[in-house]
């Protein structure tokens, strides 16, 4: 590792096709794994796995865990862990359910399904998550109690706070507007989904061009134009393909008829409508974008990664690592609340066992997605892909008819295998962290 003239000879010529594209090979690996899983299950289920309907369901089943996994990346990157997310989700869900069925209709006297109910419930839920998360972060950052212990305590406490609040009862049905976050009960419809796709493609192209311009302005080496164009094309194809699949899942005729009747119209002959992007998935996409921007383009994100890489260096650089811990756990708490919105509205009621074992799914998703438990490394999109891979394994096995115990055995083995492959990958690429 000395300054040999060869190491210093700049700028290195791209060695192969992938290095010219400058894409993350780990990302490619995960996408590859996901594609393989889809193909295998599709074969085993005689083509039932890769139907629009199943893929639609896969996205809404993944949303809640994936939302929390984005926050878990920050937690693990700063060398912490959060075992309380499933329980915290339950407490947030209980608070929101009570707001909708008891506080707003009875106390405020607004009755059921008032337009104000949903926003009030969402604010109550997010505040609950934020405050509990910040409190746990304060215990960890300022009182120096290990995160494992604080959140293990939280795991027991918040699960049972939820139980205490609801007296163990199932609360539902939830507010009609609130249920829009649940997936199948709230989708954008075909037209708006295509509008979203167009905006997303335009946004990606703008970002690519802007990034290239900045590089040229600073006289940095840039990728060959064909590589940029190819990446742009792949991104556009992915977005359009994704929306096309979700649009291809058609609303059943009977249901469509009810929708038209509710509007006071008659369903015209031969009209079919696709569901389009579920609002819960839209929420997930927005969270991924925001969290990625926070991670890469803000001081907060920079400090999170610096602290994970070397806490002492971060402190010496004047970073308040204690306050940073509070912020990271507050973000995690807020995301638990958003996941609670998605999870409870998906089942249309709050139940006592909501979010059970989610902490393990969330941690596993982040880790399969390449977040290193040693800290300092991890990506938001990796965690979401990790969640998607786990969910597709689980629902694929359910479709094939694998018994429940074997399902969990497979998921557990995949977790261990994924981390082992990641270690091998890092050894080969020479990343020491």
């Amino acid at each position: 590792m000395t300054d040999t003239p060869t190491a210093a000879s700049a700028p290195p010529k791209p060695r192969n096709f992938f290095s010219a594209l400058e894409v993350d090979t780990r990302l490619l690996g995960m996408i590859g794994a996901f594609v393989v899983i889809c193909l295998v299950f599709n074969f085993l289920t005689d083509g039932r796995f890769m139907t629009p309907r199943n893929l639609f369901n896969l996205t809404i089943q993944t949303a809640s865990v994936a939302i929390m996994a984005t926050g878990m990346v920050f937690v693990i990157v700063t060398r912490n862990i959060d075992l309380s997310v499933g329980s915290l989700l339950a407490t947030c869900s209980a608070m929101m359910a009570m707001t909708q069925t008891w506080f707003v209709p009875d106390w405020l006297g607004l009755g059921l399904n008032n337009p104000a109910t949903m926003p009030i419930a969402v604010v109550v839920g997010i505040l609950t998550g934020l405050l509990i998360g910040a409190f746990q972060g304060w215990l960890i950052g300022y009182l120096a109690i290990p995160a494992f212990i604080v959140t293990l305590g939280g795991f027991l406490i918040w699960r049972n706070v939820a139980w205490h609040l609801t007296k163990g009862q199932t609360i539902g049905p939830l507010d009609e507007n609130f249920q829009l976050f649940g997936g199948i009960n709230g989708t954008l419809g075909e037209t708006w989904s295509w509008v979203f796709a167009a905006l997303a493609v335009a946004g990606s192209f703008y970002a690519l061009i802007q990034s290239r311009r900045t590089k040229i302005a600073h006289e940095f080496p840039v990728k060959p134009v064909w590589a940029e164009a190819l990446i742009g094309a792949i991104i556009a194809a992915t977005i359009i393909g994704f929306v096309a699949i979700l649009n291809a899942y058609e609303i059943p005729a009977a249901r469509l008829q009810r929708i038209y009747e509710a509007r006071g119209e008659v369903l015209p002959e031969g009209v079919v409508e696709g569901y389009g992007i579920p609002i819960s998935v839209l929420l997930l996409i927005l969270i991924v974008i925001v969290m990625t921007i926070v991670a890469r383009r803000t001081r907060l994100g920079r400090y999170i990664f610096a602290t994970g890489g070397n806490p002492e260096a971060a402190a010496l650089a004047g970073i308040n690592t204690r306050l940073l811990t509070v912020k990271v756990f507050a973000i995690m708490g807020m995301l638990c609340a958003i996941a609670a919105i998605v999870a409870s509205s998906r089942q249309t009621f709050h139940s006592n066992d909501i979010g059970t074992l989610d902490e393990l799914r969330v941690i596993a998703a982040a880790v399969i997605g390449g977040t290193a438990l040693a800290g300092g490394m991890g990506t938001i999109y990796g965690a979401v892909l990790g969640a998607l891979i786990m969910q597709s394994l689980q629902s694929g096995m359910a479709m094939v008819g694998v018994d429940a115990p074997y399902q969990n055995m497979v998921v557990g083995s995949v977790l261990v295998l994924a981390v082992f492959l990641d270690i091998l990958y890092r050894r080969r690429t020479g990343d020491r962290t």
Partner: protein, 258 residues
């Protein structure tokens, strides 16, 4: 004579019952390299950490250019243009050179986001001056050699116009050639009027690089010498036995002649 660049008076720091730094006073003038020597545990690093704001002091006063300075955290120290290069290379291993150079002082674009391109450009400029062989701007610093990593740490001090530079065994992790590079750099910074406090074990190197040297033992100052006026053996005697040669200015920790 002008006021010293840095004057630390009666600095005290205890950990539990142990006095790590026991009423130590030292000073530093512009364009001067002053060594701080002593065994492991003599208190030299603790003394420097009080100046860099990494440790709060229990007692004593710090004067910068003759004016009393309040240094309670690393940010305060930076505001006084005090930069530190640590023994164990205080870099975040998982970040690239530019992120490390600007850590805690990121350049922000008009839109309020971290301006990575501008930081990389600035990093390329400063490193081209300090270490022209440096080319790996996109790899995490964990993948760099000791010398390259130290260049990043030094670039941080130079970029932010340090007036006072604390170097805690800057060459401990380096090879011969890289040590030479750091030595040349110290000479250059010195000629620009920067005051450098150099913590080092290597007497030979202290003799070569420093103008004066303070020797500490058991948290106390044994004495201050001009390195040209004493031999390496004299300094060793101070470090090991606390014995001051006749031409040294003895401190409270000097061995008393019974």
């Amino acid at each position: 004579m002008t006021a010293p660049l840095v004057e630390m008076r009666d600095m005290v720091k205890s950990f539990g019952g142990i006095k790590a730094v026991d009423h130590v006073s030292i000073d530093l003038y512009p364009g001067e390299v002053v060594g701080v020597l002593g065994h492991n545990g003599a208190g030299k690093s603790v003394l420097m950490k009080m100046l860099s704001g990494a440790l709060p002091r229990d007692g004593g006063e710090i004067y910068i250019n003759g004016e009393k300075a309040e240094i309670d955290n690393p940010r305060d120290a930076r505001n006084y243009k005090i930069e530190t290069i640590y023994q164990y290379l205080a870099l975040a291993d998982n970040l690239d050179a530019a992120s490390n150079l600007f850590l805690g002082r990121e350049l922000i674009s008009q839109t309020g986001f971290v301006d990575d391109a501008l930081m990389e450009a600035e990093t390329r400029k400063i490193l081209a001056r300090l270490n022209p062989n440096f080319r790996r701007f996109h790899t995490p610093v964990s993948g760099l050699s000791g010398g390259q990593r130290q260049s990043v740490a030094i670039a941080r001090a130079v970029y932010f116009n340090a007036k006072i530079l604390i170097m805690d065994e800057p060459t401990a992790a380096l090879g011969v050639q890289e040590t030479q590079m750091v030595a040349e750099l110290i000479e250059q910074l010195k000629s620009e009027g920067i005051g450098i406090l150099l913590i080092d074990h290597d007497i030979h190197q202290v003799k070569m690089l420093c103008d004066r040297a303070n020797v500490m033992k058991n948290g106390q100052l044994v004495g201050t010498v001009k390195v040209d006026e004493v031999s390496e053996d004299d300094m060793l005697g101070m470090i090991i036995a606390g014995k001051c040669p006749p031409n040294a200015i003895p401190g409270p920790g000097a061995l008393q002649n019974a």
